[in-house]
């Protein structure tokens, strides 16, 4: 297929967007009874990075993990079933939206305690190094996570042992309702923090999937050739409320017009314009994509809804491994 890679970038972003829009739409049915942190507006980071990863490369994430899970090839049905608390969920319903996992597709884990997967990801990467594997680990983290001490401890060790890890910081300027300026000194630049640990860094526009993709390609080359970690900081923006299916701009915690500015920079729309302009896709192809995705989403939600709840025995299973 011509321009397969470019089309994939678009398709993957669109698919994530459409999945999350459907979650938002159906959330009010109160059947997905767990907190959900949607990443609408931030799809380019997940996709631009993950399109360069191999199946056996590992991805880890945190509370806002849907996009990373899907971009890495995580099973959609199992994810939705997990949100519905069903036995067919990727964690049999035990975890919910904040605990996605798909070992088959290299998505190791996401957890809601901010920052806590960072050292775990470093450990997974360190194991690759010790096993002389050529695989790498990518860990996604927010701007808020860079305020946790464990972030720095992880940078130090990754740099000390030269482990094959790609840190991807999605700087969306907010932690819940709190702007960077009430949390970090104005002179503090996240990428520079990483650099000061002797780590190669890149920064860029997280809404520009081409830029993210290019940067990731270089970053991975660097990790593999130099046997050293890389840190990428990407600016992007969350459109909806921190947790839940709705917007919350009316609460006034963000500057007036900030959201609009970012919506204008929609990663999917802007990339669509680019690839249409460059005749990489046609409007017809896009219509077809939307149809395909819709039908996959319909199937997957049906699957999730029709799946059964786990049986009571499960409650006391998996506390210990025998």
């Amino acid at each position: 297929m011509l321009n397969k890679f470019e089309k994939n970038l678009y398709y993957a972003m669109l698919r994530i967007r459409m999945v999350e829009e459907r979650i938002a739409e159906l959330y009010s049915e109160q059947e997905m009874r767990c907190p959900v942190h949607l990443s609408i507006g931030q799809e380019a980071v997940a996709v631009g990075v993950c399109e360069h990863l191999q199946k056996n490369d590992i991805v880890m994430s945190a509370h806002r993990a849907h996009a990373h899970y899907l971009a890495k090839g995580g099973d959609l049905k199992a994810m939705l079933a997990e949100l519905y608390g069903k036995s067919t969920g990727c964690a049999k319903g035990k975890g919910g939206s904040m605990h996605l996992i798909d070992l088959e597709n290299g998505f190791f884990a996401a957890v809601p305690i901010v920052g806590s997967t960072i050292p775990i990801a470093v450990g997974v990467a360190w194991a690759f190094k010790m096993k002389k594997s050529t695989n790498i680990v990518t860990v996604f983290l927010g701007d808020g996570a860079t305020e946790e001490g464990v972030f720095f401890e992880s940078l130090d060790f990754a740099s000390l042992k030269n482990v094959p890890i790609l840190f991807v910081c999605e700087n969306n300027f907010y932690s819940v309702y709190s702007n960077l300026k009430v949390r970090q000194a104005p002179q503090r630049k996240i990428s520079v923090l990483a650099e000061s640990h002797g780590i190669k860094t890149f920064t860029g526009d997280g809404n520009d999937v081409q830029q993210v993709s290019k940067m990731t390609r270089e970053a991975i080359k660097f990790i593999k050739n130099m046997n050293k970690p890389v840190f990428i900081e990407l600016e992007t923006f969350r459109w909806l409320e921190h947790c839940g299916p709705n917007g919350d701009d009316e609460l006034g915690y963000r500057e007036v017009g900030e959201l609009e500015k970012w919506i204008k920079k929609c990663p999917i729309e802007s990339y669509k314009n680019t690839i249409i302009e460059k005749s990489i896709v046609t409007e017809t192809e896009i219509t077809q994509m939307i149809e395909n995705i819709s039908s996959e989403i319909n199937d997957s939600f049906n699957f999730a809804k029709e799946s059964v709840f786990p049986k009571l025995e499960l409650l006391n299973q998996h506390i210990y491994k025998d």
């Binding site: 767990c34 319903g93 996570a145 946790e148 949390r183 499960l314």
Partner: protein, 351 residues
């Protein structure tokens, strides 16, 4: 007197403390945000300024040290975390430093801080947003551990906690935030270390705390209709622990059930049973029993979470067995359509 919500009671106590003492500070992730920590800090920054009521970086351990430091130099900070789990990052500061500071320097410098921790539960919070852990804090000499079960106590105990010269861990159960009680509008204190006889009875004593007091009271209500008279002791604080009130009650009823808010093993209920059996073994006429969270991490799906948390019905089951009474629990506690992963709206209060 007005009926107000538990969350409003917390807000009023904080407001009172800020007003009353210029050295009080309020610090926490989301303190000034539009949701104001479940409404418990709403409007305070507007009223007292961002130098006294403030957000913070996502640095739980550092911030705990920082509020300890600020308390050594003239301030009385209240630090808030939206989940008890986040405080696990700051255990070193809480347990090695704040709890022992006054002892380590032989009484020269004390640490008057309050750490408000909210216990998550329900709506699929899952394994990392639903622990209780009060027995951890209560294990540590130097800490006080307060767990009000109603609005009245919440307000009075929070004011006492802020005025206390020691580090106080103040645990709030999310499912209490929307319950109501009669609460004076002015400031008042509920002393730390005094349990409350929440309900008088003669056949059996339930010792409980925090949200589980509500389940215990419901159990008592229902059993009363079947001739079983249940006394309910609300511990209110876990450390110091009012063993006198517990012992008095059990001396009278001669039977003990502990309805634990957390895991039972090495928990609050094991401490209560120990205190009772060590002190009034001869008064007991049967083995004490504890009930608490299932001994596993908390699952997200409601299919399992519904069986994870003990309810009034489970307590009633234990009591009827203990008293050798046959009651039909399914009649006493008929199935309702109320989902079990959100607070029961009939638990409105006052209690």
């Amino acid at each position: 007197m007005r009926e107000i919500k538990y969350s409003e009671a917390i807000l009023e106590a904080t407001d009172f403390s800020l007003e009353n003492d210029p050295s009080v500070l309020v610090v926490g992730l989301g303190v000034p945000d539009p949701k104001g920590i479940f409404g418990t800090t709403s409007g305070l920054q507007e009223k007292y300024g961002e130098h006294r009521v403030m957000d913070m970086p996502l640095s739980e351990n550092g911030m705990t040290g920082i509020i300890t430091g600020v308390s050594l130099n003239g301030f009385r900070p209240i630090l808030t975390h939206q989940r008890v789990e986040f405080a696990l990052l700051s255990i070193e500061q809480i347990v090695n430093q704040a709890a022992k500071w006054f002892y380590m320097n032989a009484g020269q410098q004390n640490v008057p801080i309050v750490i408000r921790l909210i216990i998550g539960r329900g709506w699929g919070q899952g394994p990392q947003h639903a622990q209780s852990l009060e027995s951890w804090f209560a294990h540590i000499p130097g800490l006080k551990v307060v767990m009000p079960s109603n609005s009245y106590d919440a307000k009075g105990l929070l004011i006492s906690s802020v005025e206390d010269d020691n580090p106080v861990i103040f645990l709030e159960h999310r499912w209490l935030h929307n319950t109501f009680d009669n609460v004076p509008s002015e400031g008042y204190r509920v002393p730390i270390g005094e349990a409350r006889l929440a309900r008088k009875g003669s056949d059996v004593t339930i010792v409980s705390h925090s949200y589980m007091v509500l389940e215990s009271l419901r159990c008592a209500d229902v059993l009363a209709e079947h001739g079983i008279s249940v006394e309910v002791v609300d511990l209110r604080s876990i450390r110091p622990l009012d063993s006198k009130t517990v012992l008095n009650s059990v001396s009278k009823t001669k039977r003990l059930v502990v309805a634990d808010n957390g895991w039972m093993h090495f928990g609050v209920s094991s401490e209560i049973i120990s205190i009772v059996t060590e002190n009034i073994f001869d008064k007991l006429i049967c083995a004490p029993v504890r009930i608490g969270m299932n001994d596993s991490p908390s699952p997200s799906t409601r299919a399992l979470a519904n069986h994870y948390y003990p309810r009034a019905k489970n307590i009633a089951e234990v009591i009827s067995k203990m008293l050798d009474k046959t009651v039909d629990l399914n009649i006493l506690f008929p199935k309702t359509d109320i989902p079990l992963d959100v607070p029961d709206p009939s638990f409105r209060g006052p209690f």
